[in-house]
């Protein structure tokens, strides 16, 4: 039997546009995952701590304000500091192509921009299943 994957969907930063985050959360639930949703305005520290307490396999970050270069890497860094670098972090939102190399380099495993289908996110998660199923 496949291990139940647990995914944290979190909104760092201050923007309140949670349409995308909520859609992804619900669509992932419908795809059979266990989804933990934190609501808006979460600090990177709170997100990292939540990811660890909930022992999730993935963290999905959604941000539309443009603060991704500061906040996404911070979450990855905090997870590393807490010996939880096995948790895979992905992101979504209004993110210009030019920022992607930087974010990848900082340990964000994938970036989904507006217009990405949920199928692409699921494909990404399933492709990484072997990495998290230990």
């Amino acid at each position: 039997m496949n291990k139940k994957l647990r995914i944290l969907i979190a909104k760092p930063g201050l923007d309140g546009h949670d349409r995308g985050a909520k859609y992804v959360a619900r669509a992932l639930k419908d795809a059979g995952y266990e989804v933990i949703y934190t609501g808006i305005r979460q600090s990177p520290e709170a997100i990292a701590q939540t990811a660890i307490q909930e022992d999730v396999d993935f963290v999905g970050l959604s941000l539309l304000s443009g603060a991704h270069n500061e906040l996404f890497p911070r979450v990855v860094q905090l997870l590393r500091e807490k010996q939880a670098s096995d948790i895979i972090v992905f992101g979504g939102g209004v993110i210009p192509e030019s920022d992607m190399p930087f974010l990848k380099e900082q340990g964000i495993a994938a970036i989904f921009t507006p217009g990405t289908s949920i199928a692409a996110i699921i494909e990404f998660i399933e492709a990484n299943r072997p990495r998290v199923s230990h």
Binding site: D30, V35, T50, K82
Partner: protein, 318 residues
């Protein structure tokens, strides 16, 4: 594993979280780990909080956590949400209301989906409680929606149950009749800022008159407005007092013993079920029995009686 145990006893967050996953996934490590932790269990106070969807359980918990933290108590929360029977997925949203405690190292919140655990969600929750207990949390609170039988089983893992009711749902009185009142120790009328709270309180007190024996102190009925942080101190005072009563009267001991009894039943039965499933191809055999009943008009009880002995024998031989 010794390492993991030690880390849990030290209160290491990551290790506790991992141990809970081991329990949730029914990993091979589960049983030896829990046995190692067992000697360190029994110190925590365990509350259950239940009530209709949206009654304000999580909001109340957020306030209760804040108040308990002022007393320096370490608090762990197990928030159980239902798994979708259609997709197997779940959205675990209780945590959101308590999220301001995320950075408090004395608070651990864990969301659990009801899944299709072997031994039921109650079995898994019981084991998660042990992990928290061993890790030194003073107060462990289980949140679950008070609807089905399995939820009632979950919340019955607590030493003491807080039942949350709200005015205006219409079905409250039904709940009172349906016997959910039986399991409550502390009754919270939340959303007292809404119309009908006082009336509901009167009704609840009326119903409780029939429940209480004369010797016991009456079950506290307290009005709160969780969003406004009103009535929380009263809830905590009443809960502590009632807990003291449960302790002094020996009921706590009784409840814990009853729980242990139940646990053993559950484990033994689960084990047997597991053995049956692992060593005896039940699905296939049942299929054959169905065929016999349908095609050959055999009688179910007689048929099973006939086969039971052979089943047991077959298991024994393996």
């Amino acid at each position: 594993m010794k390492d993991l145990t030690q880390q849990i006893l030290n209160g290491d967050i990551r290790s506790i979280a991992r141990a809970i996953s081991i329990v949730e996934n029914n990993a091979p490590l589960k049983e030896p780990l829990l046995d190692e932790l067992y000697p360190f269990c029994g110190k925590a106070m365990i509350w259950g909080i239940t009530g209709a969807p949206g009654a304000g359980k999580s909001t109340l918990l957020d306030r209760i956590i804040a108040a308990e933290r002022e007393q320096q108590r370490r608090v762990a929360v197990i928030a159980v949400d239902p798994t979708s029977p259609f997709t197997g997925g779940a959205i675990l949203g209780d945590r959101l209301r308590m999220q301001r405690h995320a950075l408090d190292s004395g608070v651990f919140i864990r969301s659990m989906a009801s899944r299709g655990y072997l031994g039921g969600i109650a079995g898994a929750t019981r084991d998660v409680i042990k992990v928290f207990d061993a890790a030194g949390y003073d107060l462990i609170i289980i949140e679950t929606i008070g609807v089905g039988q399995s939820e009632v089983e979950v919340v019955s893992l607590a030493d003491m149950i807080l039942l949350v009711l709200v005015p205006g749902l219409g079905d409250e009185i039904q709940a009172l009749k349906a016997g959910i009142m039986e399991i409550g120790d502390i009754f919270i009328i939340n959303k007292k800022d809404r119309e009908g709270a006082v009336k509901l309180k009167t009704e609840v007190e009326y119903v409780l008159r029939f429940k209480n024996e004369s010797s016991a102190p009456p079950n506290p009925v307290i009005m709160t407005a969780a969003t406004l942080n009103e009535g929380i101190a009263e809830v905590i005072a009443a809960a502590e007092q009632y807990f003291q009563y449960l302790t002094d009267s020996g009921q706590l001991e009784q409840r814990r013993r009853q729980r242990l009894r139940q646990e053993f039943y559950d484990i033994v039965l689960t084990k047997i079920q597991q053995v049956v499933e692992n060593h005896y191809n039940l699905t296939q055999k049942v299929e054959r029995l169905v065929e016999l009943v349908v095609e050959h008009h055999e009688k179910p009880y007689a048929l099973i009686e006939k086969h039971l002995n052979s089943i047991l024998k077959e298991i024994e031989q393996r």
